[in-house]
Every structure is written in C-alpha cells, then in structure tokens.
Symmetry: C2
Subunit: 499 residues, 2 copies
C-alpha cells in the first residue's frame, strides 16, 4: 500500500521528467527562435511541480511505512533508492536553495561575459560567493548523509564514490601520466616522421555525413525504434530511454569530429536504451551515475572507435557514404594518426585521452582544497598554474581565460562532478578488460563490426543493473575487481606507448 | 490577491498545456516509433495533473473573491473566462467522466475496426451507449449552464452559439445550396468544355514542394520566428502561440494538395500567432472557439488562396520553386479548374466548399434529434440516407462506411462540434466582406501578394480580441452584422455560379 504510493509518485515524476527531457531536447533542435521565453517559463513551472511533488513531506512517511512492510527484493531496493533521492532532494533548506539559485545564476551570467575577456579580477568576487555557498552545501549534505563534505558532493553524481578510494587511484594515474605524456609525444613524433598527416578532400556534404553517422550508430547497436539523431549547436544525448534524442553538429571541411562525437553520444544512448524498462519510473531504474555514464560513452568512443580494429570495418563505410576519393590515400594508420593525436593543451574539453586525466585530477585536487577551506578562490590562479606547469609543462599564470575560467562548472556551483570524467575513462578500460576475459575474441568482433555479443555483455553486467548497486560496487561486480588505474594505463601504453 | 491566485494558476496550467501541445506535436513529427507507450503514459499523467489543478475546489473561492474585489476591466473579463472554464471543467461528476472515457474509448476502438468493414450492425450497440451518454452529458451541462441541452454541448466549442440563431442561418444556406449545387456543376461542365483539365508534369520532389510551401506561408504572413513546418501523416496546426507547429504531407505526383493544406493550416497558425501574448496564461487569451478558428483557416484557404487574384502572384512562385515546366501550359484558369473542382460525394472531409455545408447541416440536424431523443442510433442509417438523397442526390443506404460511419466524432462522443466547420466558412466570407469595406483595394493587395494590411485588419478585429466576447458577439463586432449566410452565398455565386 505504501509501496504503491511510491510507485504512483514515481509515475507522476516520470511524466514530468519525460516532459522536461523532450522539451529540453526540442528546444535545442526544433524550437522556433522566438519560442524561448515561454519554453523557459513552462520548463521552470514544470520543474517546480517536479520539486514540489518529489519533496512532499508525506513521502517520508510512505518510505518508512514501505520499509516496514513486506517487500520483494526488487521493491526493497526500489525503496532504498526512493529514499536516497528523497534525502538528496530535501537535505537543503528552501532558503538555501533560493540563495544558491540566485547566486549561481548571477555568477554564471557574469562568467559568460568575463570569460571571453579573461577578466579574472572582476569575476573573483562572484566566485568567492559561489565557493562559500559550495562549502555550506557540502556541510549540509554531509550532515544529512553522514559523509565527509566533499564525499557528500560527489555522492550526488556517483553514489558511493569516496575520496578515500579515489585519491589513491588518481595519484597512481597522475604519477604514471607525468612520465607517459612525454613518451607518447615522442612516439607520436617518430610515427609522424614515418607517416605524415595526410590532407582531407572535402567539402563533405552534411547529408552524406549524416548518413555516415547513422550507419555508425546502427553498427554499434543504437536502436532507431527508440531514438533518433538531430542537429544542435552543442551535441548531447537527451530524451528518455524509450526515445533517446541524440544530436551532433557538422562542419563541411571535416567529417571526423562529427563522426567521433556521434560515436561518443551513442555510448550514452546505448546505456539509456539498455536500462530495465519495467523500472523506468523508479529511481532504481535510472542510470547509476555520471562516472558510469561517461564510462559507457568512452567505452564506445575510446575503447572501440579509436582502435585500429574498428577502422577495419569503418573505413569502407566512410568510402561508401562520402565517396571513394573522400580521403585519398588514407589507410587505417592515417585515421588513427588523426583521431589519436596527443597534445599538451590548456583546454580540458579539447584534450586527448592521454592528457585529459591530468586536467581532471588538477580540478579534483583544487576542489577538495576549496571545499575544505585550505584554498581560497583568490588563490586559484597560482595553484592552477603550479599544477599545470607540473603536470603538463605549460603555464596559465597570465591566461585565466584558458586556465581557471575555462569551465562552467565552478561558476555554476557544481563541485564534485569533475572526477566523473576520468573515472569514466578508467571504468571503460577496466570494462573492456573484463569483457575480453568473457569474450576472448572481442577484438575480432570489433574488426567485423559485430557488436552484438559485446553489447549483450554490457547489457547483462551494467545496463540492466541500473541503480541496484553503488558505483564502486557495480564496478567491482561487473569487472571482478575494484576500480583501479591499471587497465587504463595498459590501454594508453598499448595505443600510445613505445612497444 | 485572489486575482493573483488565479493568475498563478493560469501560469501553471499554461506550463502543462505547453508541455502537452509540444509533446503532442513532437509525437506526430519527431518521436521514435517505439516511444509511443511512454509518451502516452506521460501525456496521460500530465493531463491528469492539469485536470486536478484546473478543477481544484478552492478555485471557486478564488473566483468569488476576485469578483468581489477591485479589478481592472481586463481582469474582470479574465475572471469571467476563468469562471467559464472552471464551470465547464467541473460540471460533470467524476463518476460520469470515468464512465464516458471508458465508453468512448471502447467505441472509438471498435469504430476503427468496424468502419473499414462497413459493419454498422456490430457497431450499433456501442454507438447506442455513446448516444445515451451524450444525452446525459448534454443534460448535465444544460443544468450547470442554464442552457438547452444541445446548446450546452455547442457552447463548449463556440461560446454563445445557440440553435435559435443557427437554425435559421443553416436553413437559409441549405435552401440555397439545394438549388445552387446543380447550377455550379452545370457551370463547371461548361467551363470544362472550354478549358479541359491539363496534365501535371511531376514528380515534384518533396524538398522543392517544401520550399514552395514555406514561400506561401511567408507570403501570407506566417511568422517563422514563432513557428515551423514539419511533416506528419495527418496535417495539423499545433504547438503554442510562441512556437506554432504546423505540418503537411507530400505526395510526389501532385503538389496542390500539400500546398492548399499548408495554406489552410497557415490560417489557423496566424490566429494563434496573433493572440495577445500578455494574456497567454489566461483562458481570456485563448482563441475564441472552433468556429472562429475554422473561419481563420478558411479565410486564408477559401477567401484568399482559391481566388484568381491570389494566383497572380502564386503562379510565378510555383514556377520558381518547382521549375518552369512543372505545369506546362497552365494558366490561372487551369489552377482554379483544379483547386475549385465541385463534386457530389459521400465523404465530408473530401468535399469542396460548395457541397461541404450540406454534409455539415445533415449532421447538425441529426445530432439535435439524437440529443433530443426524437431519433435513435438505430434509425441513423435511414435518416442519413434520406437527407443525403434530398441534399446531394446520392444514397448511402447500403454503404454505411461512406455514410454515418465515416467520421470519428460520434464514435468518440463528440456532439455539437460539426456546425463549427460551416460556421467557419460563413464567418470567413462575412469577414472578407467587412474587411473589404475597410480596405476597398483588398483584392489588389491579394493580387500583389501583400497581406500586411489584410492581416493587420484581422489582428485588430479578431485575433487580438482573443476570448473577450462570445462567438456571436465577436462576429457582430468584427463584421458589423450578426452571423448570416448572405456573404457566403454571394461568395459561392461569384466563384461557381452563372455570371
């Protein structure tokens, strides 16, 4: 009876989530330009209804009554996740939420303006306000969850993630990468000496690129009866599991950026499409967390799509859709030359898979200090520069635009999210290794463009688990070992290292 | 204070309407095929939230308190329309609504199956159930509104419409058409003898037809910053006033059906885009009713787009978009030959503007008898056949599929809606006449493809009025005279009659 109340609540919340997800995707793809104000007003109202319904005081009673009643094992898990959602949604006082919304909105708007100018000094007071709020929020969440403050922030994005576990893994990876980045760059230079980068032969018409992208999606297992591909300024994977809205963007002088982006988003889409449909209205039925989600996109993008085996079946598709002379004289090595290019750079979102983790670890380390109060916002530029210089050998001291002002996360008040990106990369590599033990000829399957057994393994071990386990427990169960950097390091060495 | 509560309610309801409108349009245009079940579940839940919020008992108190408070004239009108919506939404007991939903859903499903087979006998018991419900609903609405039962049904679709006013207008029109249809057919035969129908020269590629449709929409005033055109199986005009979602469908062997459909839907779109934006969250800010809405689409389709003047600027656009040899040898007379073809037929939705009203008047007459209890469902086939034979000279007695089984309205429990179609045609003609008195050179404007003054007149006199007046009062205010058939008859005589 009480469980039924939670079940009904789940269906109402799912309806509002459905509306918000589709309205959000529609806004970026098909909305008329003048429809934005009313769309924003409608979505804000719907989000308000969602919040009011998700945080109603009687839900606490339903949860307690349900916990005291006879439940199937799945129902018991469902109630636990209802409770987790409820605690996370209600642990911040309304007064605080309103203050946070006002502060972060102002800060984010200011950032959009000042970032372009690289004007750190004018931005600093706003960021100081956001950091103060983030510390307050971390403490509020910590009190409600019985966790350390920074752990309580991370727990929103990947339940179960703790600095006690991650610190060591990141330290290991960082120590490896500090030595490995120079090696990868040296190896790349030697390869380039033998195989110089070849010219593209565009323009590549958008309609043909679209067909190529659809063919790639189809090949890796995207279910077009439950999703579609459109165009938007910023690519995303949105919508709902029964109707995944993926987007990409095209430039006619190049086709690889769009294609690799499509493959990345397809990884997210496969996870959503593979979630257990019968639980879609329960928190238990949702994807586990951001690190896991990123691991699914990086599995497709990094483990599969940037491998030489993948291009054995993909290269003919490129010729089929873009024409025989689309990339004259290119072989698989030339494609890999292009898509696996390594470079020390300032910007995280432009980084390759070798240097990317160093961008993340830098932020993870600074975030922890910011939340702990051992670093102040005013000290960020120097701390950032010191770490960039140490990890990547480049200085940002006179370039805040491409340093601590480059990401929206902190201006928007989002702390504890950054680690998910690199956790995803490590989980993806660890997942491939576990899968290959179960499917010893997985590499041949990739070579043949046959992903059915690979996807079946992932569906059984990850997608259908949804939110039954914490992120660390799901990793351990799916891969047979706790999260560690070994498989990712081995992957980088195989792909970029001296053989 | 109480008005503010109604205003806030209006914003919440507008958000849910927005979601339902965009989700509905999206379902027909961009949704993945497998997304239907969850979409239906989400929309049903959102509709439930809408109903719960729109019928909350405290709204009655807010309305009474608002009426007793100081209000601006606009606020007073707004409260009156809030009350009208509230009474219409609450006058049926929940028990009845549930019974009606179950009955009409079963009946409509049965109809979809049995209509194709023309199996009237198997369908009759379901229809008898629906008719019984419709009588019950009419009485419930009549009691709540203080109206006669059939008037109470019509009042949902066009507030203020009464059989006492419409009966005479329809009788006049019917009497005219019984004589005029043979005349129009004879004139058509004579014209065809001189100007035989010419061949089309397709195929007409969809992308080119789309560009032609967009050019036509742009010409007659569609605002593409607040709307768009897509493809769906059944064309419609949906979405919200700030983001109107219009659709069409294409066949490559013909271009006129899609083009004329686009022009019809553009008429609906202009009305929505022309509503007062500041009132969009009040019932007062909505389009007045179905007859008025149809009058706006028929104004563009019938008054403007099927006129010889319209084709003076449109024919060059056809050549521009479809090619110089798209319709070889066609002149304006050939286009009119095609788009103004008259024919006695069985099917309402396929009828031309001369015969269409007779299809509607037949249904209007039978509906009134069905609701009054002077006609039983079992007697429909004979009554239908008698009227079809009298009005159009064709019998449906052995053809229920193309007779009383052709429309979804009755199987779905919708009575009182049919008259709107022909009211719309008459209002459109009356509107043109009034507008031409204000803009004596309106015909020249059409000839030049300049609709700005025409649209401005309509915006001032109809669109911006929204729901300030009842349908009959709006007609009288906008056109200077009560609804009558004279202008429509004159229009038909000019276009189809012996000169």
């Amino acid at each position: 009876m009480s469980f039924q109340k939670l079940d009904d609540l789940g269906r109402r919340l799912e309806a509002l989530e459905h509306a918000l997800a589709i309205l959000g995707a529609d806004e970026a793809t098909h909305m008329a330009v003048g429809g934005g104000d009313k769309r924003a007003e409608a979505m804000s109202n719907l989000a308000g209804m969602y919040h009011a319904q998700a945080t109603a005081p009687e839900i606490r009673d339903w949860i307690e009554a349900a916990k005291a009643s006879e439940l199937t094992p799945d129902q018991a898990l469902a109630v636990a996740e209802f409770e987790r959602s409820y605690v996370n949604a209600t642990c911040l006082p309304t007064e605080f939420v309103e203050r946070r919304t006002a502060t972060t909105m102002r800060s984010e708007q200011l950032w959009r303006d000042l970032r372009a100018k690289g004007d750190w000094d004018s931005f600093l007071p706003a960021l100081e306000g956001v950091v103060a709020l983030a510390r307050e929020e971390a403490q509020l969440r910590a009190d409600a969850l019985g966790l350390a403050p920074y752990d309580a922030l991370m727990d929103q994005f990947d339940p179960g993630n703790r600095t006690a576990d991650i610190d060591g893994v990141f330290a290991d990876l960082k120590s490896f990468l500090k030595g490995f980045v120079p090696e990868a760059l040296a190896v790349q230079e030697e390869r380039r000496a033998k195989t110089p980068r070849k010219d593209l032969n565009g323009p590549y018409p958008i309609e043909k690129q679209r067909e190529l992208g659809l063919a790639a999606m189809r090949a890796v297992g995207f279910d077009f009866t439950h999703g579609s591909l459109a165009v938007s300024h910023h690519p995303f994977c949105g919508g709902v599991p029964t109707d995944v809205r993926m987007t990409t963007r095209y430039r006619t002088d190049q086709f690889l950026p769009s294609l690799m982006g499509v493959l990345h988003e397809t990884g997210h889409a496969l996870y959503e499409q593979g979630l257990p449909k019968e639980w879609s209205h329960w928190p238990l039925g949702k994807a586990r967390g951001m690190g896991l989600h990123e691991s699914q996109s990086l599995f497709v993008e990094m483990q599969l799509s940037r491998s030489p085996e993948f291009w054995e079946f993909m290269l003919p598709l490129v010729h089929q859709h873009l024409g025989e002379d689309a990339i004259p004289g290119w072989d698989i090595a030339d494609i890999l030359n292009e898509v696996n290019h390594v470079e020390r750079g300032y910007i995280r979102v432009d980084a390759d898979e070798v240097t990317y983790p160093l961008h993340v670890i830098l932020r993870y380390e600074l975030e922890q200090e910011l939340i702990a109060g051992t670093l102040e916002a005013s000290q960020i530029p120097e701390a950032w520069d010191a770490k960039m210089t140490e990890y990547l050998g480049i200085s940002t001291i006179n370039n805040p635009k491409d340093g601590p002002m480059q990401d929206v996360h902190w201006p928007a008040g989002s702390f504890g999210y950054f680690p998910s990106y690199t956790l995803g990369a490590m989980i993806a590599a660890q997942q491939w290794a576990a899968m290959e033990r179960a499917l010893p000829n997985a590499t041949d399957m990739v070579r043949q463009g046959d992903f059915s057994a690979i996807n079946q393994w992932r569906a059984d071990n990850i997608w259908r688990e949804a939110s039954r386990l914490s992120t660390p427990d799901l990793i351990t169960k799916a891969t047979g070992e706790p999260l560690n950097a070994d498989h990712f390091k081995a992957h980088l060495k195989r792909r970029y290292g001296r053989i």
